[in-house]
């Protein structure tokens, strides 16, 4: 990435949330390109999720070994296709394609694996999941951006995360609040729809549906669907946030790129 920013857009300024807006814009304008890749990425994970819901609701502890294995093995597949998705987003922002995914796939998978470990087992230490979510999201964009040694690139990415903690904390806080609000809105909407709209306006008997809504399976399914939507958004936003952090180090301007994208949008 070596395009200079125009002089009327000084680098280093701009809200921490601008990359998140940019990601929403990309989702809206490039949905037909990005969504199929994401669906392909999460097919095995969705199968694992379905098996998990089935095992938990049936309280089948014997099946948990198989379910856990499916979920674990689904992750590398997901990471590989998310790298393809993120490469598409990078190409949109750069104006030209970055390195091919196959060139960096082993390093991307290992970085994602480390990040996943930080995100899961690091939960008792609040700091590690923070690093895990950003390191995992930035792994593919960082490694596909330049043809430098993978280890150097990843170490530099960790340094950039460390150097932008304040900015990334604002982003993390915003996403957390948005996620909670979205989740709550989804719950309220479902309850309102099933208890009020469907019976009152459409005359549909929702007694059975209300009973189903009280089950673990329903809420696990809802939570998983919400996770998929959020994950899709974050896969795109991670690239825009990565470029935002990079622009503060290298002087190029992400906002100019996003403005160019908006001009070209249908």
């Amino acid at each position: 990435m070596s395009e200079a920013s125009p002089p009327w857009l000084p680098a280093g300024r701009g809200s921490a949330l601008e990359p998140l807006d940019g990601a929403l814009e990309l989702m809206r304008t490039r949905l037909s390109t990005l969504l199929p890749i994401y669906v392909l990425a999460v097919v095995p994970l969705a199968a694992g999720g379905w098996l998990a819901i089935d095992a938990v609701t049936a309280r089948d502890r014997a099946a948990l070994v198989l379910v856990s294995a499916v979920l674990t093995l689904a992750l590398p597949w997901r990471w590989a296709w998310l790298a393809v998705l993120q490469r598409r987003v990078q190409a949109e922002l750069r104006g030209q394609p970055p390195l091919p995914v196959s060139h960096r796939l082993p390093a991307i998978l290992i970085a994602r694996l480390v990040a996943a470990f930080m995100l899961t087992w690091g939960i008792p230490l609040m700091v590690l999941p923070f690093w895990g979510i950003f390191f995992g999201g930035f792994a593919a964009p960082a490694l596909l951006e330049r043809d430098r040694r993978a280890m150097s690139e990843l170490v530099q990415t960790l340094r950039w995360i460390g150097g932008a903690v304040g900015r990334l904390m604002r982003i993390a806080l915003t996403l957390s609040i948005a996620g909670l609000v979205g989740l709550l809105a989804g719950v309220v909407l479902q309850v309102f729809l099933i208890q009020t709209i469907l019976p009152s306006l459409l005359g549909i008997d929702t007694t059975g549906l209300l009973l189903t809504m009280q089950s673990t399976a329903w809420w696990m399914g809802f939570a998983f669907l919400f996770f998929l939507v959020f994950d899709f958004y974050w896969s795109i936003a991670a690239v825009t946030v990565f470029y935002d952090i990079q622009s503060r180090r290298l002087g190029s301007d992400l906002r100019w790129r996003l403005a160019r994208l908006r001009e070209a949008a249908p």
């Binding site: 998990a52 095992a55 938990v56 609701t57 309280r59 502890r61 948990l64 070994v65 379910v67 856990s68 294995a69 979920l71 674990t72 992750l75 290992i110 694996l113 480390v114 996943a116 470990f117 899961t120 087992w121 040694r149 993978a150 280890m151 150097s152 009973l211 009280q214 089950s215 673990t216 399976a217 696990m220």
Partner: protein, 101 residues
């Protein structure tokens, strides 16, 4: 003590101002290039460039250690994720024990 006047290897009629740290040849002002505070002759610079290019071609020690660690740790990290899912799902089952459906 008498000073020994050295002459440039390329220009014998000119006095040398220094010695290339790579080749050891005496160099005049025209032949000398100061890089990172050190004098080099033209040939010395080429040798330096080739040495640095050779360092960048192959992985460095840090890179090799990193790759070895990654290969060793990957199965362990995958196992850790497997255990995390197993424990998480077991916890979900325990939490749902009191439910009718």
């Amino acid at each position: 003590m008498a000073r020994i006047q050295r002459h440039c290897q390329q220009h014998p009629d000119r006095q040398a101002i220094g010695v290339c740290v790579i080749t050891g040849e005496s160099i005049c002002a025209e032949c000398s290039t100061r890089y990172e505070g050190v004098n080099y002759s033209k040939r010395g610079l080429e040798i330096l460039k080739a040495r640095r290019a050779a360092q960048h071609d192959g992985p460095g020690r840090g890179e090799r250690v990193g790759r070895a660690l990654a290969l060793l740790l990957s199965p362990l990290l995958l196992l850790a994720l497997f255990v995390f899912f197993r424990l998480g799902l077991t916890l979900l089952i325990d939490l749902s024990q009191g439910e009718v459906l």
